[in-house]
């Protein structure tokens, strides 16, 4: 099958999954047939009006949010894996999620009800700090950048744990749920934050596709072939950080998507970034939308944090990878 055909197939599968995710959920008010009627006739009966309400207020924002987050994480992972020349790089490695979590927890402790903006600020602050710490060494010494991210992340995590201990049990439950990643109780405002960044991230990453190819092959090669390596590295890291920061701000830490999607994309579509960028995006969308679907339908009457589902998927993914490599 040609690469283009694979990409198209991937796109069709993603679309199908999105439709399924919209039609399946705890309330049966909205299902495939009511969606069909809704699309054909509009909200003509009271029943369809209720279905329309579920569609616009619950399912659509949730599915779009999951899709945007998946795209953000996948693109961030793809960028960082090429820039760091490390197949294990992923967006949270720069200490972002811990920084965002710390800011969110501090905001809750201070009595704020929405954590989105504090978390965004916290993640970006850590990313900036990491970049500032290493500003003279980015091009020559990428591993030290990763170490700085890991170190700052560990520090933020320690403070987060210390702060959480002061919460009462009921608040603790909520904050833990957020920390593990969840798309619950979010509306269009969260979508408005995540979807535009996904689109901007996709366009930027697509423009960088050949520089990313060259950086993945080697920093020296990239330089000799006319890539302003330093600028591209800084730009890519900043972009990945922004994508991850927005994600953390909106729905906490959703692990492994940024790691799995690029790997799967290279396997399905091939290594050149001209194809692995769109493939990563689609696979990221499928992974998060699919995981969210499982998270909210697996147990009756309650919901799993979606981070738990992606974590379990990630574990199986890497075990499978290990088996194949042997």
């Amino acid at each position: 099958m040609s690469t283009l055909a694979r990409l198209i197939l991937l796109g069709v599968l993603t679309l199908a999954l999105l439709i399924i995710a919209v039609c399946v959920g705890p309330t049966s008010l909205l299902n495939f047939s009511s969606l069909w009627h809704l699309l054909r006739e509009g909200a003509s009966t009271p029943e369809l009006q209720r279905a329309s309400l579920v569609l616009w207020e619950l399912r659509l924002p949730r599915v779009f949010l999951a899709a945007g987050v998946g795209a953000n994480l996948a693109l961030g992972g793809l960028l960082l894996q090429a820039i760091f020349r490390n197949p294990l790089a992923e967006p949270y490695l720069l200490g972002l999620s811990s920084g965002g979590a710390l800011a969110a927890v501090l905001a809750l402790a201070a009595g704020m009800t929405s954590v989105t903006w504090p978390a965004l600020g916290g993640s970006l602050a850590v990313a900036l700090l990491v970049l500032l710490l290493c500003r003279h060494r980015v091009a020559s010494d990428l591993p030290s950048l990763l170490l700085a991210g890991v170190a700052l992340g560990a520090l933020a995590q320690a403070f987060t744990t210390a702060t959480i201990l002061r919460f009462n049990p009921e608040a603790l439950r909520g904050i833990l749920f957020w920390l593990m990643g969840s798309f619950a109780n979010q509306g269009w405002s969260a979508v408005a934050l995540v979807l535009p960044t996904a689109v901007i991230g996709f366009i930027f990453t697509l423009f960088l596709h050949r520089p990313l190819d060259l950086l993945a092959i080697g920093g020296e090669s990239a330089h000799h072939l006319g890539v302003p390596t330093h600028a591209v590295q800084i730009m890519g890291i900043a972009l990945a950080a922004a994508l991850a920061a927005v994600t953390v701000a909106v729905c906490g830490t959703i692990g492994f998507v940024g790691l799995m999607a690029p790997h799967l994309a290279r396997r399905v579509a091939g290594a050149p970034h001209a194809v692995s960028v769109p493939a990563s995006l689609l696979l990221g969308v499928m992974l998060t939308v699919g995981s969210d679907l499982v998270a909210r339908t697996l147990l009756v009457g309650t919901e799993l944090p979606v981070g738990v589902v992606t974590g379990a998927l990630g574990c199986m993914f890497f075990l499978a990878l290990l088996r194949q490599k042997r």
């Binding site: 894996q81 090429a82 020349r85 490390n86 197949p87 697509l206 423009f207 960088l208 596709h209 050949r210 520089p211 190819d213 060259l214 993945a216 092959i217 080697g218 020296e220 090669s221 330089h223 000799h224 072939l225 006319g226 890539v227 302003p228 290279r266 091939g270 290594a271 050149p272």
Partner: protein, 261 residues
């Protein structure tokens, strides 16, 4: 009057606190192959990095085709000068053809499919490096010598007037080593390109290079034709090897080195 392709003037460069290049000056002419030889750690690869802007200069100047190196954009530089680097291990799976096509990056826009001229240049480069039959293989499935030839093909695909190579024959068998050096000479003499080639093989360098530059501890010890440069006394001292002798190849009449014991 020779056409000057690259002019290096009093180059000083190094890493951290260590000075590796100490005031290196030389000229590379169009239509010649200049061989750079010297012991390990004499600054050969550092010279190549300094010449291409990979390593910032502490002082001195580099001109490519009459233009100062810092005044060239990254892509302009890559359209002037191609480099075959030492072995870098690839992270992901590309086909040899896709990999060589990346050599066209400086000639292409950021987005859009490759132009037919890009494909033609890649095919030509593959053919010249003897990699045509392997163009569908994965670069991760190549042997070290094949990978080195793929790197050469990528540099050739850039189709630049200047070509710098860092030990292009290090991992090649004698047949390919010979073919690559013949190709370098052809690129310089027939196509009027300027070729700078770092080499550890004194015999091949003397056989195929028009001029040789001997480096010792970051400075130029000698620069001239192989006959002028390959002096027994100089080489014995430079490489710290009293058994080194200069001998004439009876088939070509060019000088080379052998061991007396």
């Amino acid at each position: 009057m020779k056409n000057i392709a690259v002019k290096a003037f009093k180059l000083c460069a190094g890493y951290e606190r260590e000075d590796v290049l100490r005031s290196v000056s030389f000229e590379l002419h169009t239509g010649e192959v200049l061989g750079v030889v010297g012991p390990n750690g004499s600054g050969k690869s550092t010279l190549l990095r300094a010449l291409t802007g990979l390593l910032p200069l502490r002082s001195g100047k580099v001109q490519m085709q009459g233009r100062a190196l810092p005044s060239l954009s990254a892509k302009e530089r890559a359209r002037l000068c191609a480099v075959q680097p030492q072995i870098e291990m690839p992270l992901f799976d590309y086909s040899v053809r896709d990999f060589v096509l990346l050599g066209r990056h400086p000639h292409r826009a950021l987005l859009g499919a490759a132009h037919p001229t890009d494909h033609e240049a890649a095919e030509r480069a593959l053919r010249r490096a003897g990699m045509s039959e392997m163009s569908e293989r994965s670069i991760r499935a190549l042997s070290t010598g094949e990978w080195q030839r793929a790197l050469l093909a990528r540099a050739l695909a850039q189709e630049t007037p200047l070509l710098f190579l860092d030990e292009p024959a290090a991992h090649l068998d004698p047949g390919h080593r010979y073919a690559i050096h013949l190709l370098l000479r052809q690129l310089a003499h027939k196509e009027n390109r300027a070729v700078l080639c770092i080499s550890h093989d004194l015999n091949l360098a003397a056989e195929f290079c028009d001029r040789l530059m001997l480096l010792r501890a970051g400075s130029v010890l000698a620069l001239g034709t192989p006959e002028e440069v390959l002096q027994e006394k100089i080489l014995q001292e430079l490489f710290g090897c009293a058994a080194l002798r200069v001998a004439i190849n009876p088939h070509t009449g060019r000088p080379g080195t052998v061991f007396a014991s």
